[in-house]
């Protein structure tokens, strides 16, 4: 059972995730009002901007301690996590690189690309098998 503290934290993340996911949906719509639908520009813009903001907030939290733990939970895990999980991927990869853990960082990047894309294919395969 969730403790009261865990429940509060989950609600904080959920509230942030609502804002992040809604922003992603709105920004995605706006991008395709201006750019052609020949390339997934919106996802690229959202993923890159999410990484920029997690870098910004991460440095503010770490180097100036201007973001407390609750604010970090709301903004970095909730809002940015809902906006794009790619921001978490970017944060964790750069954290590994910064501490010279190059092999885990490389495996993490390759794992996301290879296993991630492979999992899409595997999911589609399973769906076809089930139907």
């Amino acid at each position: 059972m969730l403790s009261q503290i865990s429940a509060t934290r989950t609600l904080i993340v959920g509230a942030g995730g609502f804002l992040g996911a809604s922003s992603r949906y709105l920004i995605g719509g706006i991008v395709y009002n201006y750019l052609p639908a020949t390339f997934p520009y919106a996802t690229l813009i959202i993923n890159v901007s999410g990484c920029f903001f997690i870098g910004l907030l991460g440095a503010m939290a770490e180097e100036r301690a201007v973001l407390g733990p609750t604010s970090r939970l709301f903004w970095m895990v909730g809002v940015l996590g809902g906006y794009t999980t790619y921001s978490t991927f970017g944060y964790e990869t750069t954290s590994l690189v910064r501490e010279s853990s190059y092999l885990p960082a490389g495996l993490y990047v390759i794992g996301h690309l290879v296993a991630g894309l492979g999992a899409v294919w595997a999911g589609a395969f399973v769906a076809r098998w089930l139907l």
Partner: protein, 116 residues
């Protein structure tokens, strides 16, 4: 204020998310130390660690960076450190406190006038 050469170092290990009286616990401990006229207090935030629950907190993994370790160090005379302990005991619900012998080399206020 002067510090005797033979002092004590009080080290308190808590979590960043711990709170007391509507503020972060580390801030409340520093304020209480100041109120009691202790010589000084310094707060450090750790990058990684684990405590009594054996759960690792680390800044490296976003999901595990919620409650990073905080260490507060206070150096003062044995009497003042001991008289601070009851208040500290009341405030810390989860954490660790240790006391070590400290040899004070110097404690200098510098040129600036003390803040009111």
């Amino acid at each position: 204020m002067n510090l005797p050469r033979d002092g004590q170092l009080l080290r308190i290990f808590i979590g960043e998310s711990d709170r007391w009286g509507g503020m972060p616990l580390y801030e409340a401990i520093v304020q209480e130390a100041r109120k009691q006229g202790l010589a000084g207090a310094t707060v450090f935030r750790g990058f990684e660690g684990f405590g009594a629950h054996s759960r690792v907190h680390t800044a490296r993994i976003l999901r595990l960076s919620e409650d990073l370790p905080i260490v507060i160090e206070i150096v003062d005379s044995m009497e003042r450190i001991q008289s601070f302990l009851p208040a500290l005991d009341k405030m810390v619900k989860e954490g660790l406190a240790t006391i070590e012998k400290a040899t004070v080399i110097f404690y200098r206020p510098g040129e600036r006038p003390a803040e009111k």
